[in-house]
Symmetry: C2
Subunit: 513 residues, 2 copies
């Protein structure tokens, strides 16, 4: 077989069965090798869709997908969502096509320093030497990606078309997540027993799903500590019958207010709370200056094992968690505002819904009001690069074809990677995209004020308004084969959401604000 065939065969052998692809000339052999029936190829019309979809895929499947990108500029187009994926601990195997080795010295137009572009946002980068070593490199790339890392494999054309010999089988190396040392757990248990004020148990990553929230709930019952997450988490399992985690607010003054009484924060798979941005005269650290941070599980360690050990150390293995009761939200009526929007959403969320949240200003009220909805997953933007929502929804729907995805996204954010809609239509994905059309970078008006400027001047304001021209979201959806509907009342919004759950395939709902 040739190198490309051995690459695809190795990816498949390593359990990578999906490739989000935006191919070019240098990847023709890889395209040919995609005839391998065990590999599903998903065509994306922009690389940021491919890399964001790989992020969403990993968050649901907990196993990496591949992307196929065209030389340095193709990788560059995917980098913003690779940044988000890296911050979300999502593993991806990026396959980046490259000129044949002998062609590089001529500095042809598409030549660039691919390693240089890849390194700042990859954990693992390798340029394959030859067709014969490609399978081994591919296996190492998957091993690097599997625990939640970015692996970038650069594929010169000649390694694709050269002879790779007979296929080699490489064993799958599953990552092992370490439990924390007993001494550290004992320290945390002792601190909790001795603390004379409220303690916050701060969860992230895998501790926010599976057994994690329940374990946290049992610790809360046993000790009276509160349990929460940062504002952004890669995936949380929540809703009725599960344990609800509080959420540190986004804006600095609200976050400081939320945290002001805690003198101890116990972190699980994460670090201390940090302001998203810095502002003149405003702190970066959000906790009280006297608050101590105690790591129970570092990033990458097994947070659930750590919480079980903590329960043991506290002598509280029998503690019961408090479960979130089901809250039947009645269908709201009348004007659309953050509260009526959240109520419409809470009433419409179907069981097992995947809720991708890039709604910024509009959606910030939603999370509190959906805690008692049917059980669902939420996913947020861990890296802060906007244009995250619609690609991540696309990848999540590929990973979980039987679940409905609600993708909440501001109009400003949606425009960065709007090409996602086309892939959603092509693959018939069960995604309801909700565009909050406030026709502005509304978040920037808050941020402008937070910088101490008050109201923006006319030219600054122009840079925050996206109402000239108004984006016609129904036409946008239609242009890429997705049905669309525009709603102006809360009941209409709810009905559109509920209807979208009953019909297969994608829908876009424009919420006119």
């Amino acid at each position: 077989m040739n190198g490309a065939e051995s690459l695809v065969s190795t990816l498949v052998g390593q359990g990578v069965n999906v490739c989000f692809a935006n191919p070019g000339t240098s990847e023709m052999h890889f395209l040919a090798a995609l005839e391998n029936p065990a590999m599903k190829s998903v065509l994306c019309l922009f690389e940021g869709v491919a890399t964001g979809a790989a992020d969403g895929y990993f968050r649901m499947a907990e196993s990496p997908a591949a992307t196929l990108l065209h030389l340095g500029p193709g990788l560059a187009n995917g980098l913003a969502n690779i940044h988000n994926a890296k911050r979300a601990s999502s593993g991806i195997v990026n396959v980046v096509g490259e000129h044949a080795t002998a062609h590089l010295k001529y500095d042809a137009p598409l030549t660039s320093d691919i390693e240089g572009l890849a390194r700042p946002l990859s954990h693992w980068v390798r340029r394959t030497d030859s067709a014969a070593t490609l399978a081994g490199d591919a296996a190492r790339a998957v091993t690097a990606a599997r625990p939640g890392q970015i692996a970038t494999l650069i594929l010169p054309g000649d390694t694709s078309w050269g002879d790779a010999g007979e296929p080699t089988q490489f064993p799958i190396e599953l990552p092992v997540r370490a439990a924390p040392p007993v001494l550290r757990v004992d320290h945390v248990a002792r601190m909790i027993r001795q603390a004379d004020g409220p303690v916050l148990l701060l969860l992230a990553d895998k501790s926010c799903r599976g057994r994690g929230p329940e374990l946290a709930g049992r610790i809360a019952s046993a000790t009276g500590c509160r349990i929460g997450t940062h504002f952004f988490t890669n995936r949380i399992e929540r809703g009725a019958g599960r344990v609800t985690l509080e959420r540190i607010p986004y804006f600095v003054p609200a976050a400081i207010e939320f945290l002001k009484d805690f003198r101890h924060i116990v972190t699980v798979e994460t670090g201390e709370p940090i302001a998203f941005f810095s502002y003149p005269g405003s702190p970066s650290k959000l906790q009280h200056p006297e608050c101590q941070i105690h790591s129970l599980a570092e990033k990458g360690e097994d947070g659930c094992a750590a919480m079980e050990m903590l329960l043991d150390a506290l002598g509280a293995s029998g503690a019961q968690a408090q479960y979130q009761p089901r809250i039947e939200t009645s269908v709201p009526h009348g004007a659309l505002d953050p509260i009526s929007i959240a109520h419409a959403l809470a009433a419409a969320i179907p069981e097992n819904c995947i809720l991708v949240d890039e709604s910024l200003t509009t959606g910030r009220a939603s999370m509190g009001l959906t805690a008692g909805s049917l059980p669902h997953d939420t996913m947020q933007n861990m890296g802060g690069s906007i244009g995250f929502g619609t690609p991540v929804a696309t990848g999540a729907a590929i990973a979980c074809p039987d679940r409905r995805v609600f993708c909440l996204v501001g109009d400003g954010s949606a425009m960065y990677t709007i090409q996602s809609l086309w892939t959603q239509a092509r693959e018939g994905l069960n995604i309801t995209t909700v565009i909050f059309a406030n026709r502005s970078y509304q978040i920037l008006k808050h941020e402008y004020a937070a910088m101490g400027f008050g109201a923006p001047g006319p030219k600054a304001l122009e840079m925050m308004e996206i109402d000239k021209p108004t984006i016609d979201w129904v036409a946008m959806a239609k242009s890429m084969g997705v049905p669309g509907i525009s709603v102006t009342t809360a009941e209409h919004f709810h009905r559109a959401l509920a209807n979208s759950v009953r019909e297969a395939g994608p829908l876009l709902i424009e919420v006119v604000l």
Copy 2:
């Protein structure tokens, strides 16, 4: 004044009067400083539009614009068109917002290695230390960009909001382009006089406009050499009454055929002809193996001065160029194919049109057939990263508001940076976007065959077809406020083009193939 005000004031003082902006929180002070009445801010809804527009602006204005990008990921989104701009020798001053210096150590979500991302595609990178040194850094950035280079200035929040003191005026440093050494010119003159077969004078960059083509035409008249360009050139002034330059074909076999008789190629502001991609068993160099390359002017040297010196050395200062006669193309009728499309275009090109060409497969017949059209400029993609056309057209129209821009783009290419249409509508730009809707990555089918595979298998073919779903280009244009029309015959295409010239503002024409 604060740092941001001193930055904008310095940019303006250095002759940078346009900023293509996609701002975020860390750039609020810059936004406030944009109230400076001498700076025009153009809002782009995706960073690849901003950087591509800056490329198009430079090609027409021959003076750099600024971009405003939001941290590492914002820069990353702009990199593909920065790559294209770098390859086109277009100068850009990228201003990249960054966290305040004191916030960096907390590794907040949007933190990344901005220098690492910038360096592979920038000639000049600097992180500003303080508000006080920002003006000086900005002046140096403009000086670096002005000769056609990528300058990236990283702007930590605190340098924006800190006190910069009184404004300093920095002198504008205009670049000087050196003439070639006399000995080199004499060598070329001697070679031309002694050559016993056809010689090709190969022009690029600034030698393809202004006095360049005419000087080349005079050399051709005096010596019998042929005059041409690579397949891609950043801007050529051509059409009736000017001197026509031949074009080396794109595909390797055709390029080899075109070049096979030349034993000498004289290069002006460029290097030898190189294949765009490499193919198994196919050469990278396109000229005959015995062909010698003679540099008359290196990249960055003054090609027009070099050609004048060559005319002197040849004793041919009195030689007259052959001017391209006007060819009145009659309006074509019937089916749309590459020839009828080229004829419709040739008949419709208005005087001083700027023709941005990212048409790949469909438009390749156009260039030969538009040589006798009214005088116009053409611009091609020098870096090969697709998604170049609509942003470059946007920037060219900002630079030249009184000229009509025809932007020819394949449907696959247009999708990468389609957000350009919104900026075109917002600014009322005189751009006619022509989408060649062949509903496939048609170029990849050629390339697949060129790799020696013959017809692609079903899964590979799926990755080259973008017809499921069909993109509705009129709806796409409408969604962003641009009127659209779909044409299916040559006469309808011609009429739509001609009508677009008579009305101000943007129009999109979908050419259904």
